[in-house]
């Protein structure tokens, strides 16, 4: 299922503003890759180009290539909608659909697309996705209740369940824990550990300890100042980044000297 | 005549007394025009519909102008108008009506009351000259000598006179102006037009508007369809040496005694009002009924024939008198137009 992503010489613009400059990297399948860096350095911006979600923002555009198993996601015959089914995404603030029950939230990817699915299949999908998101036991008795009634951490896991229910091959997470309390954070971190058995995972985090705990590889982004483009400074195994990074600024950042 | 309680579309019960002979008409017929006729038209429509439960007659009170235009361009099968068709309109109507020609007669004649709101005074006498001066704004208080002279017994306060006239263009206004223009030509010099010629006075829209405005202020005076004046005081107008209060009979009399305008179509009965006939009430509104001699559609022709016959009938005129306080049509006029109505046909 999981697939490899190759990014080649990517520039990202908001209108005329170059937000991220010249990024090339490879994301390995069935592993967790963490993006760290100070606020505004373009982590979210870059992450969104991996499933063309940046196209939702007026004026946002890219130059360069993003390849999924060798297929350019920006190729002429590639449908952005299909890209997003293949590369799922979880956001910083949990965003379950407020008008839907927990069950319908999990099935949203199917139902919103007008796919027909048998009742039994739907039940199976709901259960397996919620189990996959470590949420089944907590909600199995109230699947018909609105998803927005859950706690923040549960909501975030519900969003993860919803994302994996469409069976993506890659899962992008943009600071998935930054709005959660420590217990929920630990639950999600555990979940990420389980999910990497099946998915390619990319996670943005502000929290260096979290990056150190959950990721296999870490990419450090930085920015020279307001109005300057963000850049990928270095990318390496997580252990290397945190113990002996090649760049001085990486070391400053991970040792907490700024940010 | 007791009106029947209404019901659904066919709820009008079949108690159409002598109209039973005509009783089988059905279909829908729409006319429109002068709002002055609305109350009478309600009575006519009700009477006719009770006799012909399957028929529905509608009347849009859009105003005489709208009625004449609509009649001329075929949007209305029949119309009511406070003024007779002028030459241009007659030409349009004749073109629309085809060979049967135009039928026009004063189906609704109603006294116009000169009504005022003055505490403790119910009735006053006024000569034409005085009326004209009051409405011109020359006489400004109620205890003016000119008024006092004609009302030796009345106790007149020095309240200011507030004239209230129609703000909209109106048949009532036109007839009232015509009256003043005829009886007080030296004082009232403005040609009648339907639009009130004096600036700076209080005005209101529609008959109910002027009545409401007159009731709201002290010392107000206005002119309006007599059936609407409610508890306002009214003026007995000077005719010759006498003062005549309004009444349907006195109004009918003036129409009956006035000649017909010559040189019009056979069934176009336009009258030339004489405003100075002793014993009559000369301030009247004459509102015409318009119909065609020929209609494209058989059913429509039958309906118009039945309905207009009813308007012109003695019974219909009485119904209107009861519902709207109008003056019944004289036999002379009825006899003059009835053949034309009887001849209405499809063609």
């Amino acid at each position: 299922m999981a697939q490899r992503i190759d990014v080649k010489d990517l520039n990202i613009y908001y209108g005329d503003f170059l937000a991220v400059q010249d990024v090339s990297m490879t994301v390995e399948p069935k592993s967790v890759t963490a993006f760290i860096g100070p606020s505004g350095c373009g982590k979210s911006t870059f992450l969104r180009t991996l499933n063309r979600m940046h196209e939702v923002i007026p004026g946002a555009r890219v130059e360069g290539k993003v390849e999924l198993e060798g297929v350019d996601l920006y190729g002429a015959d590639v449908d952005p909608v299909a890209v997003r089914r293949t590369v799922g995404m979880v956001f910083q603030r949990p965003n379950p659909f407020p008008t839907m029950s927990i069950r319908d939230n999990v099935l949203a990817g199917v139902k919103l697309n007008n796919r027909r699915i048998s009742k039994a299949d739907a039940e199976d999908l709901v259960e397996s996705s919620l189990r996959g998101a470590n949420l089944w036991n907590e909600v199995k008795d109230r699947l018909e209740k609105p998803g927005s009634g859950l706690s923040g951490g549960q909501q975030q896991r519900l969003c993860i369940a919803r994302a994996i229910a469409v069976k993506p091959q890659v899962l992008l997470m943009d600071e998935p824990c930054s709005a959660l309390d420590p217990i929920s954070t630990i639950a999600i971190e555990d979940l990420i550990g389980d999910l990497k058995q099946e998915y390619t995972i990319v996670i943005v985090t502000h929290n260096m300890q979290q990056a150190a705990r959950v990721s296999d590889r870490t990419a450090f982004f930085n920015i020279a100042g307001t109005g300057k483009p963000g850049k990928l400074i270095e990318m390496d195994d997580t252990a290397t980044i945190f113990s002996s990074p090649a760049e001085k600024s990486t070391e400053d950042y991970v040792s907490g000297r700024f940010g | 005549s007791d009106p029947e309680p209404a019901g659904g579309e066919t709820a009008g019960s079949d108690t159409g007394e002598s109209m039973a002979a005509e009783g089988g008409l059905s279909g829908e017929l729409s006319g429109g025009g002068a709002s002055s006729q609305e109350a009478a038209m309600n009575a006519w429509r009700a009477g006719f519909q009770q006799a012909n439960p399957d028929a529905t007659i509608n009347y849009d009170p859009v105003g005489s102008g709208g009625g004449r235009t609509g009649f001329g361009d075929g949007s209305y099968a029949f119309a009511g108008s406070d003024a007779a068709l002028d030459e241009e309109e007659m030409a349009a109507a004749e073109a629309q009506c085809g060979e049967g020609g135009v039928i026009q007669f004063p189906g609704y004649v109603s006294p116009i009351a000169i009504a005022f709101n003055l505490d403790g005074v119910d009735s006053l006498n006024m000569s034409p000259e005085t009326i004209a001066n009051v409405f011109l704004g020359e006489i400004t208080t109620w205890n003016d000598e000119a008024i006092a002279a004609d009302n030796p017994d009345a106790e007149l306060p020095d309240t200011a006179i507030t004239v209230v006239h129609r703000s909209d263009e109106s048949g009532t206004t036109e007839n009232f102006e015509e009256y003043l223009y005829t009886v007080a030509p030296d004082t009232w010099t403005e040609e009648p037009s339907g639009v009130w010629p004096v600036d700076g006075q209080e005005s209101a829209q529609g008959t109910s508007g002027v009545i409401g405005a007159a009731q709201a202020g002290q010392g107000t005076i206005t002119y309006a369809d007599a059936s609407q004046v409610a508890d306002l005081g009214t003026v007995a107008v000077g005719v010759g040496s006498d003062f005549v209060s309004y009444s349907a009979e006195a109004a009918a009399e003036v129409v009956a005694q006035s000649p017909r305008v010559e040189g019009t179509g056979e069934y176009v009965y336009t009258i030339e009002l004489q405003r100075d006939i002793e014993g009559t009430y000369p301030v009247v509104l004459v509102s015409y009924t318009l119909a065609c001699g020929t209609y494209a559609d058989e059913a429509q022709a039958e309906l118009v024939k039945g309905f207009v016959s009813y308007i012109a009938s003695e019974e219909g005129q009485e119904a209107a008198a009861a519902a709207a306080g109008s003056a019944p049509l004289s036999d002379t006029i009825r006899q003059a137009v009835q053949p034309g109505i009887d001849a209405i046909a499809a063609g």
């Binding site: 499933n51 979600m53 939702v56 007026p58 909608v81 890209v83 089914r85 799922g88 995404m89 956001f91 603030r93 965003n95 659909f97 407020p98 008008t99 949203a108 990817g109 919103l112 697309n113 609105p146 927005s148 009634g149 969003c159 919803r162 994302a163 469409v166 | 007791d2 009106p3 029947e4 309680p5 209404a6 019901g7 659904g8 579309e9 709820a11 009008g12 729409s30 709002s35 609305e38 109350a39 309600n42 429509r45 009700a46 529905t56 509608n58 009347y59 849009d60 009170p61 859009v62 075929g74 949007s75 209305y76 109910s208 009545i211 059936s227 609407q228 409610a230 009861a322 519902a323 709207a324």
Partner: protein, 320 residues
């Protein structure tokens, strides 16, 4: 890091702080109180005429309301006859307003969707601008326009309910657009992004997420627009005409509506009752009818709003 020497409040520092904390700046306090009074006052002043209006309509109209008044038409009722009712006008109001809504709501909501979800550039700007201009079309002009339009299509005798509905639509569409636009803007972007990230195409996102989430708000918007036109008189008088009978067919024949009925009854004024007031002849029955119709109209608007509130309750996003 410096170790701080503990600081102990002294008598005078405490007094100083107490003075500073309890200082009541009289000027500002007075101003605050004055403005509070003014704002309460504005509210009360604004409510006074509105309360007076509702009171007038209710007290004048309530006496006329009865089962007969609500279930009978005015067919064959004239003069001072206290019988008859406004059923035909209620039906006409509901049909014509309903049709107007049927025309305006899809156009209005789709335009709002265009403006919120797609609109960019000169077309969106001009739609926004001209929608504002359209809110200023005088209602009688809308009526004349509709009549002229249908005169071209079906000839001069055309007077039927649908023409009125078209006239009302001209008045209603801009209100629908404006209020629905605001409601759609309130849907958080996060929800759209959540749907896109699940691989849902934009149009399904709009239909199934954006519209679904804002149903409650859209209902309110539509009801506001309905309320705006349900009381129209002038355009219907010219476009639809009047009748005393029940007509359920909006494509043929005249129809009556409540505001037109109220206006015509008001215009009729007094009825002559030769024998004075009696059980069969009430001189001021017309104006009583007008108030009765006015009250009914207000109650209908109220009921619509209530329905809107319920829809709101049922469909509003569940937060707890």
């Amino acid at each position: 890091m410096t170790a701080t020497t503990p600081h102990v409040p002294t008598a005078e520092s405490t007094a100083l702080v107490r003075a500073r904390l309890s200082v009541v700046d009289t000027g500002r306090k007075r101003k605050d109180v004055t403005m509070t009074v003014l704002i309460w006052g504005a509210f009360l002043v604004a409510m006074a005429p509105l309360v007076s209006l509702l009171w007038t309509v209710t007290t004048n109209g309530l006496g006329r309301i009865s089962m007969d008044f609500l279930t009978l038409s005015m067919r064959n009722v004239f003069g001072g006859d206290p019988n008859g009712g406004i059923y035909h006008a209620i039906v006409g109001t509901l049909i014509i307003t309903g049709l107007a809504a049927l025309i305006s709501v899809p156009i209005g909501i789709l335009t709002a969707i265009y403006l919120v979800e797609y609109g960019r550039g000169w077309l969106a700007r001009s739609v926004t601008f001209f929608v504002d201009v359209m809110t200023g079309i005088p209602s009688i002009v809308a009526g004349l326009f509709a009549v002229a339009l249908f005169t071209l299509i079906v000839g001069p005798e055309a007077r039927f309910g649908f023409i009125g509905a078209v006239a009302l639509s001209v008045l209603m569409i801009p209100v629908v657009v404006r209020s629905c636009e605001e409601m759609l803007k309130l849907v958080p972007n996060e929800l759209r992004e959540a749907a896109y990230a699940l691989g849902v195409p934009k149009w399904l996102t709009v239909v199934k997420v954006v519209l679904r989430t804002s149903v409650a708000g859209l209902t309110t918007g539509v009801l506001l627009a309905v309320a705006r036109v349900i009381g129209e008189t002038a355009p219907l008088l010219v476009a639809v005409g009047v009748t005393d009978s029940i007509n359920m067919n909006p494509f043929e024949g005249r129809m009556m509506t409540l505001p037109v009925f109220a206006y015509r009854q008001y215009s009729q004024g007094q009825a002559p009752c030769p024998g004075g007031e009696s059980a069969t002849c009430v001189p001021d029955i017309a104006i009583q009818n007008a108030w009765g119709a006015a009250l009914t109209l207000i109650v209908i608007v109220l009921a619509l709003n209530l329905v809107g509130r319920l829809v709101n309750r049922w469909f509003a996003p569940k937060l707890r």
